[in-house]
């Protein structure tokens, strides 16, 4: 088991009103899983993903990553995010002043790898994702699909146990969108890489081997 989230509760205060977004959501992710979480807009999909990624803290519930209980507020959360998790967002969030290679090197440098080793790994990953001709390009010199592939390479840089993706194709046109989905499927099959992907696109979600729907704050597996 890579990740286990049990009875996750989360609520927000909006003026005087308390909005309960998650009401006991539970999820287990095993090695090689390609999981999609769908649901209506504003149902709490992203909130759940950020809690799974230790970017937000649940009000209640337990989170276990790689067999260890972890609290997102603890100092260890940084290490878990760096070593065991990878993130892909709807927007690429690449650092504009760094080249594609440099961007992919970042998680490795945070982990403490030497610059040479990090550069070699970054180039291998970019090559694997078909970007060997774009290594020294800056983000604004890349197409939307290429930017998202660089972002995917960065998520994979430290060989994480799990990649969490929040609407990874939400900002792409259909052609680039299917290109990224293909990439994710290939990584899942060829490298046994686990993914948890949040998307509102039901059709795209069908490419996953497990699909969950978040409704009324609870996760339910489809099919």
């Amino acid at each position: 088991m890579i990740l286990s989230a049990r009875d996750i509760f989360k609520s927000y205060k909006d003026s005087d009103q308390v909005i309960e977004v998650l009401k006991g959501a539970s999820l287990e992710v095993s090695s090689g899983d390609l999981i999609c979480i769908t649901g209506k807009s504003g149902c709490g999909k992203s909130t759940l993903l950020y809690i799974l990624g230790l970017l937000d803290a649940p009000d209640k519930g337990e989170l276990e990553i790689a067999g260890k209980m972890i609290d997102s507020r603890s100092n260890l959360a940084h290490e878990f995010r760096n070593r065991d998790l990878g993130f892909v967002f709807q927007f690429h969030y690449l650092i504009e002043d760094l080249t594609a290679t440099d961007n992919v090197m970042l998680p490795q440098l945070i982990l403490g790898k030497s610059e040479g080793a990090a550069r070699k790994r970054a180039q291998e990953l970019l090559d694997y994702l078909g970007l060997s001709h774009r290594l020294d390009r800056y983000p604004n010199q890349l197409s939307g699909g290429e930017q998202q592939r660089v972002s995917l390479a960065r998520a994979l840089a430290n060989d994480p146990k799990l990649v969490l993706a929040d609407e990874p194709t939400g900002n792409l046109d259909p052609a680039h969108s299917s290109e990224v989905w293909k990439m994710i499927r290939d990584l899942n099959k060829e490298l046994d890489q686990s993914f948890v992907i949040v998307t509102h696109d039901h059709e795209a979600a069908m490419q996953a081997n497990k699909v969950y729907e978040l409704s009324e704050g609870v996760l339910r597996q489809d099919g």
């Binding site: 970017l55 937000d56 290490e79 995010r81 709807q90 927007f91 969030y93 760094l98 440099d102 960065r154």
Partner: protein, 404 residues
Amino acid sequence: MNQLEAFFLKHYIKTPKRNLFRFSFVFMVLGIALSVAILSAGLNLFQGYESNLKRLLLDSFAHINISSIYRDYIDENSSDDILDIVFEKDGVRSAVPLLQHQLMAQVDGKVRAANLMAFKENDNTYYHEYISQGKNEITFGEIIVGHYLAEELGLGLGDEITLMYPRLDQISAFGLHSVTGNFKIVGIYRCGYYENDRSLVICDIDEARDLLNLPTGYTRIHVKLDKPDNAAYYGAEIASELNNRFSVIPWNYYAESLLRLVKMEKWLIYIVFSFLVLIAGINVISAVGTIILDKTDEIAILHTLGAKPKSIKKLFAYRVGIAAVIAVIIGQIFGLILSWLVEKQGIYKLKGEVYFIETLTFELSYMNLGIVFITATILIFICIMIPLRQIQKMQVMDIVRRNY
């Protein structure tokens, strides 16, 4: 420094155009450079003033002044004994007995106070190097006059001057009896120390004896040392060897308080001008705040990738810090140029009667350079760190959500 910080630091240095020479940095760099330039120039000029004043004081006055305690003169025998003791010391450059007295200088109804000096051996004195016009050798009937005294009396080389000494021992029903002597000006003395240039007159010792009615002996002995800073030590030794029969006063006794005052003023200037750097620091706070706002996405992604807030803060600190250090160095270079321009300009001169010297000179001191660099760097560093605290409080969730 971890790998991430080292990587970014290298990146900032390797691609300064992309990272440092940005519009948001321009006013920050300009503010720091200007304030540091003013601080540097202020210290350079005050350092120059302090050194110049000390040099002139030490050149114009005896390093150790030996005079009689009980009588108003030192007789010939005592003078020889004193010289024997003084010349036994290593580091004594010269020692010369002389007559020194306050009297009046007069020309065509214009009267000014004058400080008469007449040396036993003119060859062994130290005024020679400050003769700006004429000759430094004086014979009977000749005199050397201070530059401003000559100017105030409207005199030049070859003109005559009358020295007047009121004899207190010869009071009659008609008042004080004054002894006068007429001299031909053969030299103009100008050392740059205003008080000396305005009052000094140097004449032959025999003529001075006639004028002062002092047929034998000297009023004091001027001792010059190779290292004037040792004057207090040598003075105490000489006084002890003379069994405290004579008054032995090192130069520090007269001038130390003045030099301390100048030093204190220098540090006051330093404190006041440091506030300018602090004001420039407000620009830095604003620039860093703008950069943080501009780079919230980068902060969020670095946080997501597992970088600790402390590490992220350091990346920003390095980036702004490099620009700030460059600005401080530019400011110090500007400061040097500004000091040089002030020295070279001929429009503004110091008032000698107020500031003792007339010329503004600057002196480059490594200690001052270091102090300005450290002060400016620390103040700017504090100003950089204040807005960086925001990074710690940033919620990644909010930043990511904002873009959806």
